[in-house]
């Protein structure tokens, strides 16, 4: 086992150990914070090293317990997985700092609880485990880890509103897990393996109808988790009531884990695009219906919950194209969207902290009262809407170009829907801007000045800067995405890395 292989499990193991430690330190809040920050920083550094290694020398594979692949489970850090782990670690670290900033001086209902840090660390461990899993059942376990942690976080404090929305979230999530587990069981029954590299070889030999059935089963499970249109109604209802950092990390990461699972299964296990048409229709509907929902809302958190659903459609569009350009666009868009969506929810939290509400009917004149907050909102909001220099524009452009390159009625319809969605997103974002920031000050905002904790502002600013880094470094990032997409399409780099001796 080389040094780099030893690094692969760390982004999962370190947060889990941190969770155990922070649980023991429940009565020492300061130490608890330090442990969490050190743990997630370590994950981030390890993830960056893994990404560089995967980019230079191909996928890094580690066999857990030394068992050879079809018997034991493997963790695989290929470029896609490593990139996702880097982005998610950076985002979770920033959100952690934000929540630490918020915890200082908080009282009452949303006061920090000793359980927050351990649960948060378990959540990050689950997310990275899902990204690195090289085995379908391990992917399921990763999902369960992150879901169990998310249940605790979404009902944090157990207030009436959170229990109301949380109970629905829990039921929907458990249902999607059941479907996933049934899919895993059926895949095993049909092929006799769950190792993804081996599945890539064996699924091809199955009759087409059995294969399609398995594919749709997994797609349904991941579709619920990723909040793809007909399966997305749970999201805007359940996310906004949670504490701001929790909503931010859920919005940024949890749906993207579902998107990642869709990308992985559609390319590695079920290539060939049998369901391209279905995915395209669903992607178009997700974009349009989602963004129309955003326009109808009057609460900033809910508006961004709907844009979150809407923009999942762009990623599904890229997957549906199943070309290198389409997948590269989707991967770039996932990285961009994780950062931007998290930033916007953190800013919504800052607005709530500063003005006492995120309801547009109660906000106004924030640009004058809090100019820094206005900048922190404006940059990611315009980035989300896809205004030219930003990464949102570049990601959308990449996807639309990939759609045009394919041609045909359905891709062209999707290009039109994508452009329209981008415009309506701009409308939704500028509506928030005009009402909350430019309008004459309202009741809630003329209250005595609240100083926002520096750490909260700093963490949000760091994420805004990360979004800008994606813009400036879009060239290299698109390079990595294209490379990852080429490997995904070819499948052999992944399969050969996991099963060096060929099919056993």
């Amino acid at each position: 086992m080389t040094g780099h292989q030893a690094l692969v499990p760390l982004p999962v193991v370190v947060p889990l150990l941190g969770a155990a430690l922070t649980l023991l330190l429940a009565n020492r809040p300061r130490l608890q914070r330090d442990v969490s920050v050190v743990g997630l920083s370590t994950s981030l550094v390890v993830a960056v090293v893994l990404l560089v290694e995967a980019y230079r020398h191909g996928p890094v594979v580690v066999r857990i317990g030394g068992w050879p692949p079809p018997v034991g489970i493997v963790l695989v850090a290929d470029q896609l997985a490593a990139l996702m782990v880097v982005v998610s670690s950076a985002v979770t670290l920033c959100v952690l700092l934000y929540s630490i900033g918020q915890g200082q001086g908080e009282t009452g209902e949303s006061a920090p609880l000793a359980i927050y840090h351990p649960t948060y660390l378990v959540l990050t461990a689950g997310v990275t485990n899902a990204f690195l899993a090289g085995d379908l059942f391990n992917l399921f376990v990763g999902f369960e880890i992150l879901l169990a942690a998310s249940f605790v976080l979404i009902t944090l404090g157990g207030t009436e509103a959170r229990i109301r929305t949380g109970s629905m979230y829990v039921v929907v999530s458990i249902l999607s897990s059941m479907i996933f587990l049934a899919g895993v069981g059926l895949v095993y029954a049909a092929t006799g393996t769950l190792n993804m590299a081996q599945l890539a070889q064996r699924l091809d030999a199955l009759p087409d109808n059995v294969r399609l059935c398995l594919q749709l089963m997994l797609l349904l499970a991941f579709g619920i988790k990723a909040a793809v249109f007909p399966l997305s109604a749970w999201l805007p209802d359940s996310y906004p009531t949670a504490p701001a950092p929790v909503t931010a990390v859920f919005a940024g990461l949890l749906t993207k884990v579902g998107v990642y699972a869709i990308i992985r299964t559609e390319t590695l296990l079920f290539p060939g695009g049998q369901v391209s048409g279905l995915l395209m229709v669903v992607a178009g509907l997700t974009m349009v219906v989602g963004i129309l929902g955003a326009v109808a809302q009057s609460d900033i958190k809910r508006i961004f919950s709907f844009t979150l659903v809407s923009h999942i459609g762009y990623m599904i569009f890229g997957v549906a194209l199943s070309t290198v350009a389409g997948l590269a666009g989707a991967i770039f868009y996932v990285a961009h969207h994780i950062t931007i969506q998290t930033t916007l929810f953190l800013v919504a939290g800052l607005i709530e902290e500063r003005a006492g509400s995120t309801d547009l009917r109660r906000l106004g004149g924030l640009a004058r009262v809090a100019p820094l907050l206005a900048v922190l909102f404006f940059v990611p909001a315009m980035n989300l809407a896809g205004i030219p220099p930003f990464s949102g524009f570049l990601g959308k452009l990449g996807l639309l170009q990939a759609g045009v390159a394919i041609g045909g009625p359905l891709p062209w319809a999707l290009v039109a829907a994508g452009t329209a969605t981008s415009l309506v997103t701009l409308y939704a974002a500028s509506r928030v801007w005009s009402i909350a920031f430019w309008r004459e000050p309202r009741l809630a905002t003329t209250e005595p000045t609240v100083r926002l904790p520096a750490l909260m502002v700093g963490a949000t600013a760091a994420l805004v800067v990360l979004g800008l880094v994606f813009t400036v470094a879009a060239g290299p990032l698109f390079g990595v995405s294209t490379d990852a997409a080429t490997d995904l399409r070819a499948r052999t780099p992944y399969v050969r890395a996991v099963l060096p001796g060929g099919a056993p």
Partner: protein, 157 residues
């Protein structure tokens, strides 16, 4: 994969468990949903289990290797049972908390959705648009009304 064959009885049991589970999931009461999840979970676990080969205990030395049952499905089901157990316990706690706070354990409608629907029925915008003060300039006028707070199904006798 399945030389010894899966009996029809097991398949029917999976079907019945999943069917009753889904039916209960469609209820509004969290307790019934919980029961539905338990039934559905057991059905899915059984489905995973019958995906592997059946036979003698998979311990080396106790029987011929080619007649052993598949240990992998058993391991997976064991994991799945633990997970289902944990999540069920959590949902039970949520249902209890809901009952404690609210006097019932019914899943409620989303407040904001109802508000948007009511506004649409009255042909009003969700918020005054683009800077204008509009007729509803006073924010208190459009604050959530008390009767919108909850939509509850009529209590059963």
């Amino acid at each position: 994969m399945n030389e010894t064959g899966t009996t029809l009885v097991l398949v029917l049991v999976v079907g019945v468990l999943a069917g009753t589970g889904v039916t209960l999931l469609l209820e509004r009461s969290l307790t019934r949903i919980l029961l539905g999840i338990i039934l559905l979970g057991n059905g899915v676990n059984l489905l995973v289990l019958i995906g592997g080969r059946s036979g003698v205990a998979p311990v080396v030395g106790t029987g011929p290797v080619d007649r052993m049952s598949d240990p992998l499905t058993q391991a997976m089901v064991l994991t799945a049972i633990v997970i289902t157990f944990g999540l069920t316990a959590f949902l039970l706690a949520v249902a209890y908390r809901s009952w404690y706070l609210d006097g019932n354990d019914e899943v409620q409608d989303d407040l904001e959705d109802r508000q948007v629907a009511e506004l649409a029925a009255r042909r009003e915008l969700p918020a005054p648009d683009l800077g204008g003060e509009g007729p509803d300039g006073d924010p208190e006028q459009v604050a959530p009304e008390p009767h919108l707070r909850r939509l509850r199904r009529t209590e059963e006798p």
